[in-house]
Symmetry: C2
Subunit: 391 residues, 2 copies
């Protein structure tokens, strides 16, 4: 038996990539510079943009006591992923989150723990429309105590749609600047029908002619603020659709933008499962193998890389450059070290690779090693940290 | 170190529970008898029922080359779970599956491998409606070469809705017998809008007044067969909604039945993730601990049970009654045995529990053991079989 490289998966928080481009203290690689150039270009064409996130819902459809926006996914609340997705877009100047009074402290703790920035909190209303209106009021210039400035365009997004990408945000913002309002749409998954009062089928709608209205949506701030100021209590209580308010009260026909399947809303418990799998898939694309790159075993590492490269991107690190090494052959020390680094969200396991002379057996052993590595990385379950696995 | 019980999760196929009630060769417990009584009662009121499953789709929305109904979930094709759900309902006499010619052999292999019964295969048409029509034709009595008999009521279901329960099937069948047609509905998750020709918002529908039409649906066979025989080529090419055909061609207003959230259709890749998590959750409720129930370690097992009982149901088995035992202390033998039982879909790992005198340390050790067991059971990942884990 020869000691193999420890299988260790990366931290759960890859960090806000786009925000790094806004900072001045980053090492400037060619790729970053080119991206930063595009970013500067974007800054010139994009108007002043803020975002409002209604997050006052109770999540009754989820069937769990925690409101869905606060449900943990890999130990981190769902809303934190959504905030991260918005923060990465550096041309969104302010993000106003509407939360209920009872969740205000919890939300502040989330912002502190995950170091969210550019966030302002307002108290949510009892309905979605009332929460959005609270957020808009905070952005309007006529609020004397506000730290915020009125944006030209405001994005309205849901706290429970964590996978929103910069390109769709840019599309709705650009379309809103031109048309006054814009929203993402998706094809219908099911036919929509209109039941009669006695619960029978009256009419089924032509699926091809209808679309599901999703988020994000964007509006010229003056348009949507005017619509909310004019709309009735009935609208505020029972309405769900901001585009409808812009149409009804400001006669603005929103531009509809085809969104990607990623825009779906976490609604049911199964959606939490799906979100967890997607997040795992996104954060576990890379592994780093710690090994003595000068020694005989080097080619073993490269054979493992060969087996894993369809699933994962493999990096090598010389074992002399890391603070452990020979010590890690001892099971107790692996466990102690694993306990230590878990605090920094690094899940560490040991992997012993059996290293026989027989080529076929070596091949089997390496294949099993690759399977174990891929399993640990993909499942990312903290229950197995500190274990010494054998291939 | 003392050898602990091996952590071993149950087989992936819990087996068709309801079908067992239809057989005569089962041991009759009181609970089974009471259930069998209800079953007999059901047999009297339920009409002759068959089901048609269109499974000819290409799954283009999934973004993967395999049609979604054949995508593997825990190594088993999605459609096999759906067939299992229908087979469990013993009052469904025949299940007609429409598959494309190119997938016919694959489908036969699935039926054989998972021992599906009461299945007839027909060739799918190029659209969903044409596939359903093929299934109905096979059930109609006027087919001279058919082994099937015409049912009074036919259920139409989707191959990609694996979590259908008996109660909703019974509801749609009962309502179809009374009204001629019935279908499951769900509240809308998103507002539905009607875009104008230039891609702007024309009209948004009142979400509270509309519903999503889901599956299963059920029809008096003569009604739906008549509707399909009369309907136009345009309907067969572009239509999606069977309830609509019954309304348009037979003037039958379908009864709409509120379905559970489980009825959702596997449409996108994220739905496969969700389905996998739900299946894992359903199959991994029970563990069996193999231990010497006479010895000192007994109380260790019960303390583990205490820690696990909120998450899992724990059973004990005396180690003298199983074919391994002392042998399993040897790592190589665990791995060989694990390889052997994996063929029967049993995932076996060893778990060594450190057994110190110090009460606090013992508590820590047991807690870690419970975490490892819960992790292995819930993740159910075959990449870790044969490993000896240490708590």
């Amino acid at each position: 038996m020869e000691p193999g490289p420890p299988g260790c998966s990366g931290p759960a928080e890859p960090g806000p990539r786009l925000r790094r481009l806004c900072g001045a203290d980053q090492e400037a690689s060619a790729a970053l510079l080119s991206r930063a150039g595009a970013e500067a270009e974007l800054q010139r064409c994009v108007p002043a943009v803020a975002a409002v996130l209604p997050a006052g819902g109770s999540g009754e459809r989820m069937g769990v006591p925690t409101p869905k926006q606060f449900c943990p996914i890999l130990d981190r609340p769902l809303i934190s992923y959504t905030l991260q997705a918005l923060e990465r877009v550096c041309w969104i100047k302010d993000i106003v989150v509407a939360v209920t009074r009872e969740n205000m402290e919890a939300m502040k703790a989330i912002i502190q723990r995950y170091q969210h920035q550019r966030i302002s909190l307002v108290e949510a209303g009892v309905t979605r429309h009332r929460s959005i209106f609270s957020g808009l009021k905070a952005l309007a210039q006529d609020q004397p105590d506000s730290q915020l400035s009125k944006p030209e365009v405001v994005i309205i997004h849901d706290a429970v749609r964590p996978f929103v990408e910069e390109d769709v945000l840019l599309k709705v913002v650009t379309a809103a600047k031109e048309h006054g309002a814009a929203g993402a749409i998706r094809p219908l998954v099911s036919t929509v029908i209109c039941p009669s009062a006695d619960g029978c089928l009256d009419q089924s709608l032509d699926r091809a002619r209808h679309r599901a209205s999703e988020m994000p949506q964007a509006f010229l701030f003056d348009v949507i603020y005017e619509a909310y100021q004019q709309c009735s209590d009935y609208d505020l209580e029972f309405g769900t659709e901001c585009l409808h308010l812009a149409l009804k009260y400001c006669h603005i026909k929103a531009k509809l933008v085809e969104g990607s399947p990623d825009l779906w809303k976490v609604t049911y418990k199964r959606d939490l499962y799906a979100a967890e799998s997607i997040i795992k898939e996104r954060i576990s694309q890379q592994i780093c193998m710690v090994m003595d790159t000068k020694e005989d075993e080097e080619h073993i590492g490269h054979r493992l890389e060969e087996m894993l490269k369809n699933e994962l991107s493999v990096h090598f690190l010389d074992c002399k450059s890391v603070p452990f090494g020979q010590k890690m052959e001892n099971l107790t020390q692996i466990r102690e070290f694993a306990k230590e680094v878990k605090k920094r969200n690094i899940l560490l396991c040991g992997l012993l690779i059996y290293y026989p002379q027989d080529e076929q057996k070596l091949q089997d052993s390496l294949r099993q090693g690759a399977t174990i590595i891929a399993t640990l990385i993909k499942e990312r379950n903290s229950g197995l940290v500190g274990q010494l696995l054998v291939a």
